[in-house]
């Protein structure tokens, strides 16, 4: 059994109004050193697979098919045994 941790984030070239607003909110609390803030999604998937590579390959397919929209989003996957 493996757990895939998937991060889906907006591409750097795409404006992120949510991230912008959160950044402003933090700044209004006095956090002045914020360079950049980007909002994204974090998805965990528990996968039955024979090894880590197979689990990763499955997670990769999930991202391509559904979890990320390649027009506006990037994704990264980390797989660890459970």
């Amino acid at each position: 059994m493996f757990e895939a941790q998937i991060k889906v984030t907006l591409k750097k070239t795409v404006a992120d109004p949510q991230g912008q607003t959160i950044k402003h909110a933090l700044e209004s609390f006095g956090f002045s050193g914020i360079e950049r803030l980007r909002m994204g999604k974090f998805i965990t998937v528990t996968i039955k697979a024979k090894d880590q590579a197979e689990a990763k390959a499955q997670a990769e397919k999930m991202c391509q098919k559904l979890l990320a929209n390649p027009i506006i989003e990037d994704y990264s996957i980390e797989v660890k045994p459970l």
Binding site: T13, A15, P17, Q18, L66, I71, I72
Partner: protein, 252 residues
């Protein structure tokens, strides 16, 4: 002539579309549940607004894999008329029938109000009843209407005259003020504003009705577009080439 209104779990503008087609336009219309396995006999499919599958993951992302969508894609590829409104537009983007993607409105608010749109192209079955450059009033109601497409894609849209409606005052951050686009073949329209909510004077505007009237007129004057039961090469060809108004002819 028969319209079909696709219904997903979470669609909520399906009844409005149905009402306009049946009671305002006096045309035949049926609901199509998303698990239906055939769209035979329909001439125009409407993907209505709402919150299909709760807008989970991304708007339209789950609905796009509903069984009906494979049929909608086939229907569109044969030249059948498809119109996606609001959430329906988002579904068509996710399905790849139209280029680009939807982002959250730049002000992060759900915006529900009448907006002015400029008609940028009348050379589609959907916009033929307008005049080029005409300003029309149709309401929007969305949280994710901030249309995004990369530079190359935008250039392509402009080159092919695929931008049909633009916001006069951009409410949501949409690239190039885009409110509605068609595919290259011009038989699939996606638009964020709701023409079904502005098809009767009682609702404050009937500007949206002209979209549906355009479709009816086009279906009446064109030979039957799609016969999915017996597709013939000629009917497919006709479907892919909607009649285009000749440039410069209309001075009205």
């Amino acid at each position: 002539m028969k319209f079909g209104v696709v219904v997903f779990p979470g669609s909520n503008c399906d009844q409005d579309c149905f009402h306009v087609i049946q009671d305002v336009l006096k045309q035949s219309v049926e609901y199509i549940w998303h698990k239906t396995t055939s769209v035979d006999g329909f001439d125009c499919l409407i993907i209505p607004g709402g919150f299909s599958y709760g807008d989970y993951l991304r708007c339209g992302a789950i609905a796009r894999f509903s069984p009906i969508m494979e049929l909608v894609i086939k229907f569109a590829n044969k030249g059948g008329l498809v119109i996606g409104i609001c959430n329906g537009f988002q579904v068509l983007l996710e399905a790849g029938l139209l280029p680009g993607a939807m982002m959250r409105n730049t002000n992060l608010h759900f915006i529900c109000k009448y907006v002015d749109l400029k008609v940028d192209s009348t050379e589609t079955p959907f916009s033929s009843e307008y005049k080029k450059g005409q300003v029309i009033r149709i309401p929007i109601a969305h949280n994710e209407g901030n249309y995004y497409i990369d530079e190359k894609g935008l250039a392509e849209l402009k080159k092919n005259d695929q931008i049909i409606f633009r916001y006069v005052t951009n409410p949501n951050g949409a690239m190039d003020d885009i409110a509605g686009i068609v595919n290259k073949e011009r038989n699939v329209l996606g638009m964020m504003p709701h023409p079904e909510r502005s098809s009767e004077d009682a609702l404050g505007s009937h500007d949206g009705k002209l979209i549906f009237e355009g479709i009816v007129k086009w279906l009446q004057t064109s030979p039957r577009l799609v016969d999915t039961r017996h597709p013939s090469p000629s009917s497919m060809e006709r479907g892919m080439n909607p009649p285009k108004a000749e440039k410069g002819v209309r001075n009205d």
